[in-house]
Symmetry: D2
């Protein structure tokens, strides 16, 4: 439903045209320094209207903490957060009163809820992700305190324009070791760290925008400095939780971790990540990282990295031959301005969902570590 | 942890060398005809030693229902099921007492549980999946009663040998409409429905087996006759639940639904699935199915289909330069016989996890439908 | 943590001195007529400052729906609700900076959260219950639609002043059949339906208020027109869920259902509720109702009724010899005005928690009924 | 449904006449010494046929661990456990084919599951509690390691025969400080530590047994050496979890903690537990313990104690005028031998459920303590 997590848990509410969107974050450790300033930056990165590549609706998205902090520190109690919906005029997409938008949630929401709402696919609005990003920012701040965990997502593909993201490529693995959010944002609106590819991607988006169309892309994310031992065997393997988290983001169609789909072609003898003893850190590490930092569902301390496929945006202004709700043939061209490509704005959402998965897994594992240390003694 | 689902819930137990493996399935509707004969076939399909392509250990895997049925019908109470571990001699892989197997769970289990068990990565054993398959068989029987739901998985890639699985290919979509388990099994041990490709796949597996190596593959799965309205918006979108379910299967590295990663390259105007009114069924359907049967996280009644990447098996007899637990360099060659490719045996597991996701989503949605029918009246 | 329920689920946030308190209610059926006017009455009944018996702080407690409704109907999406904390000046109980209040949560919150907050036992504030009452009002409206479910709580004891609440007393059982909220409120501030007892109760409260002390009481609650079959065998018996719900209300010390503690003295032959065929409703009913409407954890269609013990309020102005946080002996007399008895204000909270338990159980059972009807056919 | 707990979780299966009853315990810390010998004693205490006061059916109830241990130590993986149902002949209570037993679950199970099973109220069988007791024994062993937690339950009332259990009585509080299971069992079959009262209780049970009737009772339980800080504010207060756990035991009608129902009559100035600094343990303690060891839902380190009301057993051999399933008047006298009083056998069940609640709360709190220690530093 609208909750995610076990010990570190977020619950969200809100559609596009209601009073506000927001969330409750339960299980935040007490004593953490936290104000709106820790949360706003990622919300701002998520905001539309940031560049000529995204929709010009100017949402301000200012977050207000309602509860759970005192004098700039968390109390350990649930943190309520709220972002007002400034633009809640009814809406100007009147064709969508007649037509279910193809590949959008309009049709399926009626199947599910038995009636049509003004705002079409209610919670399918991108504004729903505000609560996730706000919650993720808190999770991330906690993870930084734990072990300086760093989470950096970037656009690795737009349409057929790709940067290299092969687990077999040492250059790519090196990039994962060092890439920062600042570097990702510095390459311009598309948030691809390879600036020459970034330029081509921008052109690709512009091309589809100019033809009133849209195009998809891939977001790749790396998580560094992850403690070992996170993730539960069997049903809640860490990669399963990450896949769940990523495929819960609107418009996603695929997830791959480590070597991913490419890896199936590589024989075990080359795909296996051999161990070596690392003198610097005094622990076993792996020479390669086809595993993507997770083995048997549990983190091994290497970088976690994965990619997420985002389809081409469903709402386009180009004419589409389709059917009305009533089954009559017709042509739909959505009014209004729409993002021709969502991947740059998806970056903070991917980062937020990653942080939520990790914070929850960490709390669960740390209680186990407590227990076996007690039991052993 | 070891439970999956909310209203239709399975909890599993068991490692490779303990007394038995099994599960408890809670939330099975009362009155369903059910005996061991409904469950055994999928367990038998999962079993090793079925062909020259899989490991020759001869596990018999006979399931015994412990509770929850009476006179061949379910009572509505939890169904306990148990499969004895016949082969529970200590084990003969003594090198693995010294070496953590690369890309296996040996190392991470120690990180998680603080000590090394004889059976290495305990629950990472493939025998853990027996409980899932048994539970899935019950879910499937229920789904058949609901709307004749059909779930068919098959191998679509081994190493670099692929059959076509593009959402853009009408032939592939047609195959998804009709393919049966019988057809899948009929093509021989590899379970690829395209018999010419199947032959090449078998050779690919044999090549790696003969060089004491292993190779990965892709399993594709279609689910037909799914009721509309299943899946929860936001965090529990149906594709998110399926991704979670699939990435929880050992050795998986990726998941894609509908057009998947390929779809990101297709502009929205071509990627969107336009609606039409279907006279035969008297409802809106879509002309294409890039969505893979799910829009906004909710089923639209079209075929659900997705693919899952399985990496090359980690345990190989080929020598690998790696490190001992103690950090000393050395060479590991795993003794014993190991599956050179797991995809054919993964088929019933993928089917089982699909059934579990659907049965749970269905029960949740049906309570909502009850409620809004009441509220409306 | 801060969530309650499975399919009908409320999550709350808020302490006494933060910006607002509120909740998210997930799983509300779509299509239900709902505005703030449906929620405000119970919040107003919960409010302090309603009579000379309760604290004069004048909180207005106006609720604002944030999401999940459109044109006065629910969408099926989560309903966010918010009540501003108007009075959030720091607080004037400065002694409690030095002293943990005896039998309050001040001390245990430090044990739990590792540091002391200004507002002492944060979530132990009575304002936390606002979110529950708001959510309960929605649950109740749904239950009324389902089967005209009626939930009425009243004060049955204050200190040693009791009205009869014995399961053996036909008069009491008759009262349970008919008592309404209007009748409960009509007897004056104490909300005991027996007006002669109510008068004595008021005097009892005044006596303790005048001596700067406090006194406890018992709230009894009846739920009528409950569908049969609700509640889950084993761990989630309906009475177990009700006990959980009631003991989660601040200041509660006990729960009993049906014949309760008194019932242990009655032999089975008299305690058992014999069946008879009721011509009017054409179904089996019971002649007596020692069971309190639940047998084997499952509703049988008779009235559910139970009682909840509330201890004497911990915060009193009377001097108490106790210890400072630092372990120094001293005398604490809490400043400010405090409720000398909480039972009248607890009435809507008990009703709300009852409604939440029932709405959740109902949704779960209705999916089962759907399933067995399908399976049978 | 059939699971209890979050991080330390038990799932049970089994009715009276199926192959076996059992459970899966998930979340048991790795490294704990554990064999069947740790579990059998409490199962044996739960067993019928232990004395002339209980039913003579001779169930042996030998438990077999299926998984999750190796060389006598837990692995951290789920522990499957199984007890065979030796006596699974159909049953000899043929009247109950015609009559729903009054105050039993026969009628409500049909309402819930839509059909009648041979074994009547399936999971309402006392054999269901075997899984709980087995799981509780593991939880208890863990808690002993943590802080030498001691859990001792005893019978404090049978019919109208009571021993003193008032929170106001220093003698009773002293008893709670020291009472052991050995002492409880030493007083004979009734398990009341006050031997003079015990004798009267035995007579009370015999009286009702001889008249083919049954009688209820109260079980009181104390938990010593509990760490502070356990229990979650708001919905999962520790007393709410205990109430849930206790009311989930068959035949329970009430729960009270600390001063309980009696406490409502005591003014706050006497009911509050004042603090003092305890030199011996160097921490704040309370002089009295009306709170029952929990304040604001969180443990304060004092003894937890509570009482649970068990109604008179529903199945009696005495004739009862009631109705058949078909609505015809008739007289039911249950064949077979039945426990005239269940309280002595309920002792290990109450202890087990207590241990399960505590182990789960402890694991949750320890992850929080880890987190705030990290965050502070």
């Amino acid at each position: 439903m609208s909750s995610f997590g076990t010990l570190f848990k977020v619950t969200t509410y809100g559609e596009s045209h209601c009073r506000s969107v927001g969330c409750i974050v339960d299980g935040v450790p007490p004593g953490l320094a936290l104000t709106e300033d820790d949360i706003q930056p990622q919300l701002t990165r998520r905001r539309p209207g940031q560049s000529k590549l995204s929709t010009p609706r100017n949402e301000k998205d200012r977050v207000f903490i309602q509860s759970g902090t005192e004098n700039g520190k968390t109390l350990g109690t649930p943190i309520g957060m709220l972002v007002a919906n400034e633009d809640h005029r009814p809406h100007d997409y009147s064709e969508t009163d007649l037509y279910p938008r193809p590949s959008h949630a309009d049709f399926t929401y009626i199947q599910k809820y038995g009636s049509k709402s003004n705002s079409g696919g209610g919670r399918a609005s991108a504004r729903e992700t505000i609560g996730r990003v706000a919650a993720g920012a808190i999770a991330e701040k906690f993870l930084q305190k734990v072990s300086n965990v760093e989470i950096v997502a970037f656009v690795s593909q737009v349409g057929s324009i790709k940067m290299n993201r092969s687990a077999q490529d040492p250059e790519f693995l090196k990039l994962l070791d060092t890439i920062t959010r600042e570097e990702v944002d510095a390459t311009g609106p598309i948030r691809c760290p390879d600036s020459s590819v970034a330029e081509l991607m921008v052109k690709e988006v512009e091309k589809h925008r100019d033809s009133k169309d849209s195009i998809g892309g891939v977001v790749t994310c790396v998580i560094r400095n992850v403690p070992t031992g996170l993730g539960e065997p069997v049903f809640d393997k860490l990669e399963a939780q990450l896949a769940h988290a990523m495929l819960s983001i609107p418009a996603t169609k695929g997830f791959e971790i480590g070597s991913g789909f490419e890896g199936v072609e590589i024989p075990g003898s080359q795909h296996n990540d051999p161990f070596y003893f690392d003198e610097e850190t005094s622990r076993l590490r792996t020479k390669t990282n086809n595993s993507g930092g997770i083995q048997g569902g549990i983190t091994n301390g290497e970088n976690i990295y994965f990619s997420v496929a985002f389809k081409s945006v469903a709402t386009i202004s180009k004419e589409q031959a389709t059917s009305t709700y009533d089954g009559k043939k017709g042509v739909l061209a959505a009014r209004g301005r729409h993002d021709p490509n969502v991947t740059p704005r998806a970056i903070p959402i991917v980062e937020a969902m990653s942080a939520l998965v990790l914070a929850d897994s960490l709390l669960i594992q740390k209680s186990r570590e407590y227990a076996y240390n007690i039991v052993k003694s």
